[in-house]
Symmetry: C2
Subunit: 313 residues, 2 copies
């Protein structure tokens, strides 16, 4: 199966305590696509300027990612983001954001994208997200990301609510879901979002993992325990890419399937953050992913109280 993503393709400038790098391939759409592409086919929707180096497109193509929905604006400048991380890697400080070609972007899906069933709306204006959903004919599972910027403005928040009503999964971090619902308790907040229609709310907690809340229950997915975190950029989109990639790969969107998909998300995000930029996503293999999946299982499994004592030791 195939997953379609709309999201930014960017040139990132990063500063961390471990180093600095300029004009790396970045953006939510890029991280998502590279993460998902190891599991399934990916179709990208986005926009780039004349200045995006061809090698970055080659990187995406080399993973089999379909760039048919990516428009290049001949005289435009690519979206740019500059951010800094302190030792506490959980929070990025945005130094600069330049929307550039994304400012006037109107997505127009190629015909062969319109029957794709798995769709991820990466963080972008809710209006663009709506325009994409409206062009997809029979979506089976739509995931949505957003950010404080759209939640804080009453007009874009209204649009965001329209999008939430049409998706299956809402990805938000602690702060975003609290801001959106006005509820401090995360489970109460998640239920408010579920009441709008989605099947599951996926709360991202960075180094603490992620929690899913659905009508079928709660699932706590641990983050993969890493010795080294070099660059958390794209962690959330890599998590989403692993998750959506697994759903599209298996076609199993049941509660059990979602749990497995979240673990794929955790594992793939771990590859993303342990090196700079997208390097980790480019180097990971299906075998390495499967190995970390099983390790994470070992790190979280414990025995039922009803298991016989002899099986316990």
């Amino acid at each position: 199966m195939t997953v379609l993503v709309i999201g930014s393709i960017a040139l990132d400038t990063l500063e961390t305590p471990f180093g600095r790098a300029e004009e790396l391939l970045g953006g939510a759409g890029s991280y998502f696509s590279l993460a998902a592409s190891v599991l399934t086919n990916v179709q990208m929707v986005g926009v780039i300027g004349a200045d995006l180096p061809e090698e970055h497109l080659e990187t995406l193509r080399s993973r089999g990612i379909d760039l048919g929905g990516v428009q290049r604006v001949p005289n435009g400048k690519t979206f740019r983001w500059a951010g800094r991380y302190e030792y506490d890697m959980n929070v990025a400080q945005t130094i600069d954001t330049q929307l550039n070609v994304f400012g006037d972007f109107r997505p127009n899906l190629p015909e062969n994208y319109r029957d794709t069933e798995y769709v991820y709306l990466a963080n972008i204006t809710p209006r663009l997200q709506l325009e994409v959903i409206e062009q997809v004919r029979k979506p089976k599972f739509v995931g949505l990301d957003s950010m404080n910027f759209w939640i804080g403005n009453p007009e874009t928040k209204r649009d965001l609510t329209q999008v939430i009503k049409r998706v299956n999964a809402v990805f938000m971090n602690d702060a975003e879901i609290r801001q959106y619902t006005g509820k401090y308790n995360l489970f109460e907040a998640a239920r408010d979002v579920l009441s709008l229609g989605p099947q599951v709310v996926l709360m991202k907690k960075g180094e603490h993992g992620a929690v899913a809340v659905s009508r079928e229950g709660i699932f706590v997915a641990a983050a993969y325990p890493l010795e080294t975190v070099k660059d958390p950029t794209g962690a959330g989109d890599s998590f989403a890419g692993g998750l959506m990639g697994h759903l599209a790969q298996t076609g199993d969107t049941s509660w059990a399937g979602l749990k497995r998909a979240m673990i794929f998300g955790s594992v793939i995000a771990s590859f993303a953050v342990e090196t700079f930029g997208t390097d980790g996503l480019l180097r990971m293999t299906p075998e390495a992913i499967a190995a970390r999946y099983e390790t994470l299982r070992q790190c979280t499994m414990f025995e039922s109280l009803s298991q016989p004592t002899e099986a316990r030791t």
Copy 2:
């Protein structure tokens, strides 16, 4: 089996967004003992002043807790702590601490305490913790808690290192283990502590659960997902009480036993924080604990990739 604890018995004054209460029964020793007492016998070592209401001692005795190691100083004043929590319940702001009778306390263990095999050294001066270990003849499993105050002072940090070398389990939160080791990455920091001798490092992460690091691996214990958190006071000591209580109850200090014990810790801490003061610990039953244990298992379990597909749906 029996677990022995040295720790504070206090009168707590608490302010949270949900209310205020004065001179409640508090202190690490009290929370630990009430948490453990639902699973096993508890012996308390500590000191109180003339002003500790008899009803508080009755509360402890009503759970079968042995107060033979608690000294009452006839003209002394009981240890007092006043704290405040904002909406972000993870961090307590200490308004006031009065050591009072704990200032001059020298623990002297009753003869029948000296053969106890399970020992918990709640947060108190490392010197007092050492004095307790030295009086216990054949400790099987010793747990240790501490705090930034003792880590920050070079002299008490030296004492703390002596204690760490003699215990099986070190309970620390993120900030404490980073401060103690000077390492930012928690797994690297945990290995530094393990190199001093302990069998396991238990990193408490509040609402995000706890992580154990041992020579046998890593175990991530989720926090029990709660709709309501009213008062996080004593969460760490209740976690330790559940954990040590389960170890003492089963005598199984293997890696599998420790994992189960951590889940008991998570579950029992959840009862502690969902009501004010020690109320939740006093109301919980073995049946309710077992039910939450299994719920937490459901909330964290996921399938192996090698499981047959038909078992997955």
